[in-house]
Subunit: 286 residues, 2 copies
Amino acid sequence: MATAAARAAIGDSEFDRDTAVVPRADEPGTYDIDLSAGWTIIAAVNGGYLLAVLGRALRDALPHPDPLTITAHYLTASQPGPAVIRTQTLRAGRTMSTGQASLYQTDEQGREVERIRVIAGYGDLSALPDDVRTSATPPAMPSYADCVSSDDAPDDGPVTGSTAILERLDLRLDPATAGWAIGMPSGAGDMRGWLGLADGRDHDPLSLLLAVDALPPTAFDLGLKGWTPTLELTVHLRAVPAPGPLRVALTTRNLAGGLLEEDAEVWDSADRLVAQARQLARAPRG
Amino acid sequence: MATAAARAAIGDSEFDRDTAVVPRADEPGTYDIDLSAGWTIIAAVNGGYLLAVLGRALRDALPHPDPLTITAHYLTASQPGPAVIRTQTLRAGRTMSTGQASLYQTDEQGREVERIRVIAGYGDLSALPDDVRTSATPPAMPSYADCVSSDDAPDDGPVTGSTAILERLDLRLDPATAGWAIGMPSGAGDMRGWLGLADGRDHDPLSLLLAVDALPPTAFDLGLKGWTPTLELTVHLRAVPAPGPLRVALTTRNLAGGLLEEDAEVWDSADRLVAQARQLARAPRG
């Protein structure tokens, strides 16, 4: 983890650099990006990182800054390297706008292949009224100091392949949901942890899109091993996160027909529920 | 409620008639429909009915029959009357395909206005493997006979305007979540009920899209009155429902910034979790 002196700020961090999209001057609403290899896990580019990339393009294309609700369908596997994002504005209202974005890469035959399609409603989180009437409570979990880092894990855990993303996260798992790393999953289908960015950048609405898909999959806690490909991921951003690490709690209540849902709740240091997400994923065979 | 003798079958019911889409012979993937006034509530066409209409068009356009995950963004208010649906196939795989659909109506100036945009992943629910590992349990609620019908409600409840949809539903609310009808909301943000179709048609995957948005809004149980417009609704279908009425449980855990999420779980008569849904809606001012 970065020292306080070297702490990255929002706008000047690994996350900001690797999600930066470059608008094409001659094609309004079209953006180029070089997808970073720094956010891969196993053999794939992390789905939350990809969602943040598309979220940043829509943030530029739409008149409102924050994704209030954003849904991604993962069509084909993205690879590190060049990609183009095409956006479309569907509706621009006073308090909310709706847009669509697709990310494409060129395959070995030179054909453009769509990787992800996103549809989202954007607004301004900081302009929302102050009313909060919530019955939701933060997840019960140990303090940051009492949670475990991937540095503590043995080398023969269920993840084989790239773990590049772990170097960019400051992730501490609740020991109650980390037993899978030593072959003792709880079986409950839960995953909880503290989540910061390794370079010390605080969270903002865009990095919340990463946060909802940054923990190990709940399938590991169910005793399953292998890849859990996301078919669809929907995120609701509910508030601008306060500085400091987030608490992220994932739950799977229904694995059936080879599919599972993964529900995510993200809480900030001020005990505010800042994001809710749900994804439908294919369960690992293992 | 229909008598057993007059019981409508799947394919031959009010719901099937009113969601029937007519493919244009000369425009593949384009469909016409006359949106029925029979599924309106207050001043609006019900969002679940509209989702079922779009779901039926995609069912025709895509190579797989069932929406495994479907997301709708409600852009402008639909009106009863003619509409056109345009679909696009994004990806057609062996076990799953992905498509997009938009519903348009013509405004008073003769311009085509987009009402709803949907993106969905389709598969074949009856071809999924049989494995079920679920920790979810059906909602605790009284039997159908001990729940209350809208016929039991006083005339001065919070709903003013059309209640046409209620004539097409066989809806019985858990009395614990029906107090709002007599000015005594629980404040918890819950809504639970048994849900059939009034003409006796059993549920199928398409009518589950209606079911997730057919109960009164949880806002009523929070003591709020008025319209709760859906911004975005995502539904995951997890199994083909068994015959008989469904149990639908809605929960709101976070009302903040003028927005609320409404989570829906739908259980069939065989105690199987057949659908999970979440919507982001604007909270009523009242």
